[in-house]
């Protein structure tokens, strides 16, 4: 039986969290188990460096509501912070990371700068990318639309969970 790990996707409304999960997962429970509680759950089995791992992915909506998502973060093993490279408001997540509880900061995390296919609309500054790199093991330019770096990003997080630094 493979090890199961809980990972959460956190980011502002419409940054593409759900689309990213859809892209990553061939088989998806999110639709089936859609609830009114603001969380979609999907699972995906991966083999990373010859080890099996089951990612239980919590796609959490309602990031804007203060502290709402904190409930769902309990016992989380890995985090994916998601920002939208074309939407400046979504970078406010940096403040959130800054102000988050120390135990959240210690959770292995990666950051997706999503919608990288929309090159022309890109508004994110290098300083902001740099700030994101400070708090995360890795930052990826991703596209849920083209699939760019999606698998890579998730797999990186999985390997972080299997081999804690």
């Amino acid at each position: 039986m493979s090890a199961a790990k809980k990972i959460c996707l956190i980011g502002r409304f419409a940054v593409g969290k759900t689309s990213l999960v859809k892209q990553f997962i061939d088989k998806q429970f999110g639709e089936k188990y859609k609830t009114t509680v603001g969380v979609s759950i999907s699972t995906k089995q991966l083999i990373v460096e010859e080890k099996e791992i089951t990612l239980v992915i919590w796609d959490i909506a309602g990031f804007e509501q203060d502290g709402h998502y904190a409930h769902y973060m309990r016992g989380v093993h890995g985090l994916i912070w998601v920002v939208d490279g074309t939407e400046a408001e979504s970078f406010k997540i940096i403040d959130t990371i800054n102000n988050s509880l120390p135990e959240i900061k210690q959770v292995p995390s990666v950051c997706f700068i999503n919608k990288c296919d929309l090159v022309e609309d890109r508004v994110i500054k290098e300083s902001e990318v740099h700030a994101l790199k400070e708090f995360n093991y890795a930052v990826y330019e991703t596209s849920a639309k083209t699939g760019e770096n999606v698998e890579v990003g998730f797999t990186k997080l999985a390997s972080l969970l299997l081999n804690p630094q």
Partner: protein, 545 residues
């Protein structure tokens, strides 16, 4: 002016002022000291507690006293403070038991007047369980198909037992349930508000919460409050039994023992084929109505019936099974000894429909004895409690036959034979003795059991008489007593010997010379013959030496 006064004061009251100052100083310093102590007190206690256990011990008693006093003086405020904690506990327990009680009662009322319920009551009694418990076992139809044990914090699946259908989704289901739980906790801003049941993927999940982990069970059919209670017990047991591994995620989904434990909890409670239940309540009502109508009618005849009942009780040898109204009279069904006297009923409209039987009524036994003795003249009897005393005279040749007839009467256990024998054969001449020899050699003493000595004595009467006669005439004899049996068993020979010994002892008691008696056994060659009571006894071989 005031200066001069001060000087004057100091001159006059110098000593007094000094004392006063000293006192003032002392007072002030005490207050200052208190202030100082108050500043360091909490730290002092902390430090002292670390280094010296004495303080704790010294404080123990006054604190205890203080707490007790606080409790007794401000009960209400303490209760108020505890209520949020206690209340929840109490409410939970109370509502659970009320729910359970109500559902039990509902079911009981539903079922209580069915034939089936009577059967179940009986089965419950036989099985040594309570009726509600039996009800539960019999009426509930549900199936626990899956049990998920889930980390309450992060929703990771700890173990899953059950169907393969849900196995592949088990991680997602666990997370989903946990998310829903979190949402509820979030919405109600309370950690105590939690999911009790939810439908996911058309599956009905019942949730039982524990401090670290919770359990979600898929139940098909109608889960009962009792079942929910059971899940609560299971989750408590898991916390007690597996507390160390519950939070060790590396053991998740890999703990065979825990998995087995959960697997055991997958149960199916099924109703046996839905039989048509015959409601007997309506029948009870109809019957009650009929009884009410009949009651008045029968009341008028009751007195007469009572009379018949009383009379029938007076009759010895009549065993009444049933009395029925029969036109203007009655029919009595029952058992009747042929000797019973039913003349009481002769002038009444009472019909007896009876089967013959042998009554053990003392009067009936006496009647039987009288009937037997009526063939003989001059014999008086006295029967009491199995014991029969015979007095009077009887012909020598009739004696044995009479005794065996009397012993054949049911209820005659012992006969004290005081009959004087008449018409004894003359034994004057030597050749006459041969009759006596023949009589003895033709005799068979019936000894069906080893207990009824009186019976054997009675049968041996003439044998003893004959032997005594020979002894009196100094006829030298040799008597072989031959014990016999039906050869029906392994112990047949042994019992034959015993029979011979019984006869031997009775003869010796009757002053027959022991030296002239030998006991022998008519030995069985096989011992698998049919049982035959009439063969159990003793024979004689009497010879003149």
């Amino acid at each position: 002016m005031s200066k001069e006064r001060d000087i004057l004061k100091s001159l006059l009251l110098k000593e007094e002022l000094e004392v006063l100052d000293h006192l003032k100083d002392k007072l002030l310093s005490e207050e200052r000291f208190t202030d100082e102590v108050a500043k360091v007190l909490s730290n002092a206690i902390k430090r002292s507690q670390k280094t010296d256990p004495q303080l704790e011990r010294a404080l123990e008693k006054p604190i205890k006293k203080g707490v007790v006093r606080a409790f007794s003086e401000s009960k209400q405020s303490i209760i108020d403070a505890l209520l949020p904690i206690m209340g929840q506990l109490i409410r939970k327990t109370v509502t659970n038991s009320i729910k359970q009680f109500v559902s039990d009662i509902n079911r009981a009322i539903e079922q209580d007047f069915s034939i089936k319920s009577l059967k179940w009551r009986w089965q419950a009694k036989k099985a040594g369980i309570t009726y509600p418990e039996m009800l539960f076992q019999k009426t509930i139809r549900y199936q626990v198909t899956d049990i998920f044990l889930i980390n309450k914090d992060n929703g990771l699946l700890i173990e899953h037992a059950g169907s393969d259908d849900l196995l592949k989704d088990s991680n997602a289901i666990s997370a989903m349930l946990t998310a829903i739980q979190s949402f509820i906790g979030d919405s109600f801003e309370s950690d105590d508000a939690h999911l009790q049941s939810v439908e996911i993927k058309n599956q009905n999940f019942i949730v039982a919460n524990g401090p670290k982990v919770y359990l979600a069970a898929v139940v098909k059919g109608n889960p009962t409050e009792r079942l929910k209670q059971k899940f609560q017990e299971i989750i408590e047991n898991i916390h007690a039994g597996y507390s160390e591994v519950l939070l060790q995620e590396e053991t998740y989904q890999n703990n065979l023992e825990l998995n087995d434990y959960l697997r055991e909890k997958l149960v199916t409670k099924s109703l046996s084929d839905k039989q048509k239940e015959i409601k007997i309540l309506p029948w009870i009502l109809i019957t009650l109505a009929l009884v009410a109508v009949l009651a008045y009618w029968s009341y008028s005849r009751k007195l007469a019936l009572n009379e018949v009942v009383e009379q029938s009780k007076q009759i010895n040898g009549l065993y009444v099974q049933k009395i029925e109204r029969n036109g203007d009279g009655y029919t009595i069904y029952g058992l009747l000894d042929p000797l019973a006297d039913t003349t009481v009923f002769s002038n009444q409209a009472v019909t007896l429909i009876t089967k013959p039987y042998s009554s053990l009524d003392e009067t009936i036994i006496q009647k039987r004895i009288h009937q037997t003795l009526s063939d003989y003249n001059g014999i008086q009897s006295n029967y009491e409690k199995g014991h029969l005393v015979l007095t009077g005279k009887i012909k020598y040749n009739d004696n044995q036959l009479l005794l065996s007839k009397l012993y054949a009467i049911n209820g005659v256990e012992q006969i004290n034979n005081k009959l004087e024998l008449t018409n004894q054969p003359a034994v004057e001449k030597k050749e006459d003795l041969s009759i006596l020899f023949d009589q003895v050699n033709q005799a068979f003493i019936h000894i069906p059991d080893m207990k009824n000595k009186a019976y054997y004595q009675a049968q041996l009467g003439f044998v003893i008489k004959n032997l005594q006669l020979m002894q009196n005439k100094n006829v030298k004899i040799e008597l072989v007593i031959l014990g016999t049996s039906d050869c029906s068993g392994a112990l047949s020979n042994k019992y034959s010997q015993k029979r011979a010994t019984i006869v031997n002892n009775i003869l010796i008691e009757s002053n027959i010379n022991p030296n002239s008696i030998v006991t022998e056994v008519k030995s069985c060659k096989v011992n698998n013959q049919a049982k035959n009571l009439s063969l159990l006894g003793a024979k004689f071989n009497l010879k003149e030496l």
